[in-house]
Every structure is written in structure tokens, then in C-alpha cells.
């Protein structure tokens, strides 16, 4: 067995299929996107090399509106980190205390993650419907009819209305990650602290949180990169509208690729998305390392 592990050829041969898949499915498309981003190309006919013009246009053109889309994504990322994750952490800490019905609560909170995003999108479309949606109906029922609104049709409220289901859907996902971390804290550490007179809050602050820091880091990375890549729920709920109020880089990319036939520009957005995701992952790693 050890001989097998020490033979480079065994290692190469058995890694090769996965490596080919990894390169073919992940690395090659990134390379191709980078290549296409230097061209003016409609996807069908001849490509014209234009250097960095797509990148320049992306950051300067008002009609494309990339900066606004990026701003929306960063806002979602901030909300994910400062609203969604604390909520998920709170739930994980409470459920980690072996409360009654722990498993049932776990299943219920995790359920939105299992449901198809399109189904969730349709569900929230009905909730927000200006005429018969449960939100407006409930507001009218409690005498707050003046707050009833065309939630997804108004530029002022559409972004917030789209973010709510996104944040709601993935609370359960982060909760499960953090719950696994909380559960892995050795009971003797907790017991020792309790014997020393530590309160629940102190146990969580000085024992549980430092213990699950690596998982917190992963959760933050997932939350930030997931926000930068967010697409499906926004596509179903507003498709970037009204008037680009809920546009994020991914919806903009789809619009460039398939509605405007600008494959070069779509590829440019894809490349920038990849760079941003990598940059944020590195930054988060750095921040957590500094703290350590």
C-alpha cells in the first residue's frame, strides 16, 4: 500500500481523470472567457480584436451600468455577512444547546435550501403581488394599508424586496455549517467553563466562537462569493428590473450574452466576476489570519 502511495505514476494516473475534468470544466472556460473578453464578437460571426476596450467600456458606460450592478452585489454581500450570518450563528448556537425539538428546527430552517430556487422565486412573487400578495393583504388587514406597495415594481423597494428571499433562503445553509461546528466543541471544555461559573454568553464568546472560527471563515467566504455570483432568484423575481434597479453582474452578463449578442462584453463581466470572487476570498483569508 505504502509502495503504491510512494509511486508517482500511480498518483498521476489516478488523479488524471479528475484533473482533466477540472481543467475542462473549470479552467478552460475561464481561459476562454479571458480570451473572448478581448474581442468584439456577437457569438456567431467573425471576432474583432479590440484589446482592453471591453474593460474600459464596462467601467465607463452609463448604458451598461456595471458599477451599479456591482454596487448592488456588494450591498448584498454586506447584508449577507452582517445580517444573514449573525442570524445563522444565533440559530446554530441556540440549536447547539440540545434544546427540545432540535432536529425538527434544524430540518425546518434548512428546508428553503432544499427547495428549488425557481419555486422559491414563484412563492415570493405571489407574496409580493400588489393585488393579492399576502404582504399587502396583511398590511391592509392590520390597518397599515398606506404601507401596501408595488414591492417589485418600484425602484425604491425592488432591491430590498429581492434581497429578503435571498437572505432568507440561505440562513439555513450557514446555520447548518455553523451548527456542525458548534456540535464539534468538546463537551468537557463547556463543562469546565460552566464549573468555573461562566455564563452561556461567556461560553459562546470565549470557547465556542474561537473554536468554530475556521467554519465562520468558510461561511463568510461562501456568503460573499455567493452574493457576488447571485443570479437565480433575481432572474426569477425581477430579471434585473425595474429600470436595472436590481441588476447584479450575473444578470447583466446574461443580458449582454444572450439579449444583446455581445459575447465579448459578457465574457469581460465573467472574468471580472471570477477575479472579484478570488480577491474577496483572499481578503477574507487575510483578515482571519491577521486576527489569529
Amino acid at each position: 500500500m505504502n509502495k503504491m502511495y510512494s509511486n508517482k505514476w500511480y498518483i498521476i494516473i489516478f488523479l488524471l481523470p479528475a484533473l482533466i475534468l477540472f481543467c475542462g470544466v473549470l479552467i478552460a472556460p475561464i481561459g476562454a472567457s479571458g480570451y473572448y473578453s478581448f474581442f468584439d464578437w456577437n457569438g456567431f460571426t467573425e471576432k474583432t480584436f479590440i484589446g482592453l476596450s471591453n474593460y474600459k467600456e464596462l467601467f465607463t458606460s452609463d448604458s451598461i451600468g456595471f458599477m451599479k450592478a456591482l454596487g448592488n452585489s456588494l450591498l448584498l454581500a454586506a447584508l449577507s455577512v452582517f445580517l444573514q450570518l449573525p442570524l445563522a450563528l444565533g440559530l446554530a448556537l441556540v440549536l447547539g444547546k440540545k434544546i427540545k425539538g432540535e432536529r425538527a428546527f434544524l430540518s425546518v430552517f434548512f428546508m428553503p435550501v432544499l427547495i428549488s430556487t425557481v419555486v422559491i422565486g414563484q412563492l415570493w412573487l405571489k407574496i409580493y403581488n400588489p393585488d393579492y400578495g399576502v404582504l399587502n393583504v396583511a398590511l391592509r388587514a392590520v390597518g397599515l394599508g398606506n404601507l401596501a406597495h408595488i414591492w417589485l415594481g418600484d425602484k425604491a423597494t425592488a432591491l430590498g424586496a429581492v434581497f429578503v428571499p435571498i437572505l432568507w433562503q440561505y440562513v439555513g445553509y450557514h446555520m447548518l455549517l455553523l451548527y456542525a461546528g458548534v456540535k464539534s466543541v468538546p463537551p468537557e471544555l463547556r463543562e469546565a467553563a460552566m464549573l468555573d461559573g461562566a455564563t452561556d454568553g461567556q461560553v459562546n464568546r470565549y470557547i465556542v466562537l474561537p473554536y468554530i472560527k475556521p467554519i465562520l471563515k468558510i461561511s463568510v467566504i461562501f456568503a460573499v462569493t455567493g452574493s457576488l455570483k447571485s443570479f437565480d432568484l433575481i432572474y426569477v423575481l425581477t430579471n434585473g428590473g425595474p429600470l436595472h434597479a436590481t441588476e447584479v453582474p450575473s444578470t447583466l452578463m446574461i443580458s449582454m450574452l444572450f439579449l444583446r449578442n455581445r459575447y465579448g462584453m459578457g465574457s469581460t463581466i465573467a472574468v471580472l466576476l471570477i477575479i472579484l470572487c478570488f480577491a474577496f476570498a483572499l481578503l477574507i483569508n487575510f483578515v482571519f489570519k491577521e486576527e489569529e
Partner: protein
Amino acid sequence: MKKILALILALCMVPFMAACGGGGGEDQGAADGEEVTLKLWCIATESDANRPAYEQAIADYEAAHPGVKIEMEAFENESYKTKIKAAMTGGSSDDLPDIFFTWGGAFLGDFVDAGKVYCLDDIYANNYTEDQIPAVMLNNSSYDGKHYGVPTTFNIVAMYANMDLLAQAGWDKVPETYEELTQCCDDLLAAGIIPFGCAGSETWCVTEYLEPIILKSIGYEDLNKIFAGEATWNDPDIAKSVDVLQEMIDKGYFDPSGVALGNDEVKANFLAGKTAFYQNGSWNTGEVAAADFKSAVAMFPVMNEERSTANCAIGGPSDHLAVCSESPNADLAAEVAVELGKEICHYNYLNAVGLPAWTPDYDTSSLEPLMVDIGNIVNQCEGMVLFGDTAMSADPAQIYLDYVAKVYGKEIDGQGFIDGLTKDLQ
């Protein structure tokens, strides 16, 4: 033990190796006497008014040609645009259908330019006469004098009216002038009835309101030139048209909920008697006629008699079938597509889903009266203008739609609309 472990690992590799292997090997062509299956992509989903016509036409064709099977796959309108473009860009014939639905004008033109579409000239020349398919009906799918598409219907933008609701507001006829229309809308509002519904979340629905107003302000010749990129958007009468639409919105003529709704919901509101008018494609005629109220159809009134007349419309033969040039059975698919398109057109007309692009050679005595009215409107037309987002190629069309959305969202006024389009498109 080591051998067993190595064997297990080697077996684990098999699926990976298989996945890496080429997918070819399937016999694409069909030997003589074997059944040939042709893949057809379209937007005739279960809820689409065209669906029965597609199903009937396919059933008829398969019954008459036992060796041919047509596999229809239908996609939702907006996602289909993504699907077909992605498939065309992909390049592999395995990813492509044999026959596909397409809009005429620039949408099909992009595929033709890329050499992805089979030329149908021989089929038309050998099997069909101009009496069956008038040359004008092939204009929107012809490029450099060659025909690439089969029109499946002919539609215009029509203004449907719920006459029961109009009667409640004291009107027994559809308004014929703009002054009458505004008076009618005021009367409807006074009676607690919302005049119009428009789906703000689908910008093409807003163009169904804006384009007829522009058409009736500047005339079909000038609007055709603008859509073709031969004239500038910088026309004060276009700015006025935009202001007219925004004035109608300001006066409350449009259901405010519409900004967040899709076309299906807005249409459902009209069919349920919530709004008095619904301006959209004439493919809705069958559904309107089947609604539980007395209906009528008209055109948006003339706005500027110096430049336009009542006898012009937005529309034309826009829906087509086309054949992928890379189809392994392209010759057969071309014959099937033309025959299928003709029959879809036939059933669509009888089902009141659209006017006939092909000359009817069947009994039309049981035709829906509302469809007959639309036919009469078209017969009086001197000129037509194809839907703007179809007439223009993808990039300018999307920029144009963005500006239309800004108009409906009151982000820009008429002057902003013409200034913006002049700057971004010319």
C-alpha cells in the same frame, strides 16, 4: 490486497474515462425505410395560444408521412431567446434542433449571417406558388434575396375593448379619435374602472403601447426608416408621442399594479373584467373572443393627420420556422418545416390566434368574428411596421427596450427618449 485495491481504483476510473470520451458514434442519418425523428424547438408552451395549432399540424403531418416523427420541445418566450442563441453559438449539431421557431427580421438575420440557417429557396420554388404564399409575407425572413423562414402567422398590435365595461361608462362604441379615447378613459375612471393594463416587467408589452402612438404620429414610412437605422430618432413628433403615453400614465389610465406584473397577469386582469382595454398582439384574439364579455377590436387612433393615417399598423409576419443548416436531415427538415409552417398558419387562423400569412385554401366560414374584424383592419392598411425589437438587431433592440422601460418608469421624458436613442443608436 494491493492488487484488489488497484483493481477497485481502476474500476473507479471507468466512469471518468467514459465521461471524457467522445459522444459521437450515434448514426445521425437515417437509412432508407427507417423512421426519421426531427427535433423541433418552439415557444408554443402549454399556456401559449399557438400550442393547439402546433399539435394539430404535427399530428396531421405525422399521419400523412408515417416515416417522419416530429419531436416538439417548447420553451418559455424569454428563456427561449437564451436557449436558441446558446445552442447556435455552441456549434455542435447535437445541441441544435432540426427545425426551430424564430422571429423574423434581425433575430433570424443574425443566424443567417453566421451560416446557421438552411436556405429554403428551392423548396419554395419547386413546391409552392406565389398564390399560396405571397412574396410580401416572406420579406421578414429574406436576406440578400434568399428565403430562410416559413411564416406561421401574421399579427398586428390591436386594441381590444371590453364593451360591457365601456357601456358602464356610457360608451357604446370604441373611441375613434384621441380626444374620444381620453374622454372615454376619463369616463371609465369616473365609473371606477381602470382603462388600460400594461405589463411593465416585460418591456415588449410597453412597446405595444408606445409604438402604435409613434406610428400614428409620424407614419409608417418614417418609422420603418428609423427601425432600419436609415433615419434618426431625433424627431420632435416621437418626443410628443412619448409625452402622450406618459400623460396617459399620469392621468391614471394605466393600472398602477401593472409595473410589477407580467403579460399573462395583465391579460388575465383584462379577461377577468378588471381593465377596459388591452393593447397587445392579435394572437390574443381567440382568448379575448372566448372571454365572458362583449368584446371589440380597434386600432390606436391617429395622433397627427399631417404625417400618418388610420390605415397603418405595427406588426407583420414575425413568427417563423427555420431549419438549422447543420441538421443531419436538413433537406427533409426543410420540406417538413415549410409544410408544418403552412399548417400551423392554417390552424392558428381558424383558432383566432393570428391572421394567415399563407393564402387560406380551406373553409373559413366559421371564423371568429373578432378575427374577421382584425382581418378587415389589415386589409385597409397601406403600410406596416414590424415590431421594433424584432426589426432591429439584438444590441440596438435591447438599448431601445431599455429606453422604452425608462419611459414607462418615468425616468426620462420624450426629449430624453429621442436624445438618448439618437446618441446611443446613431
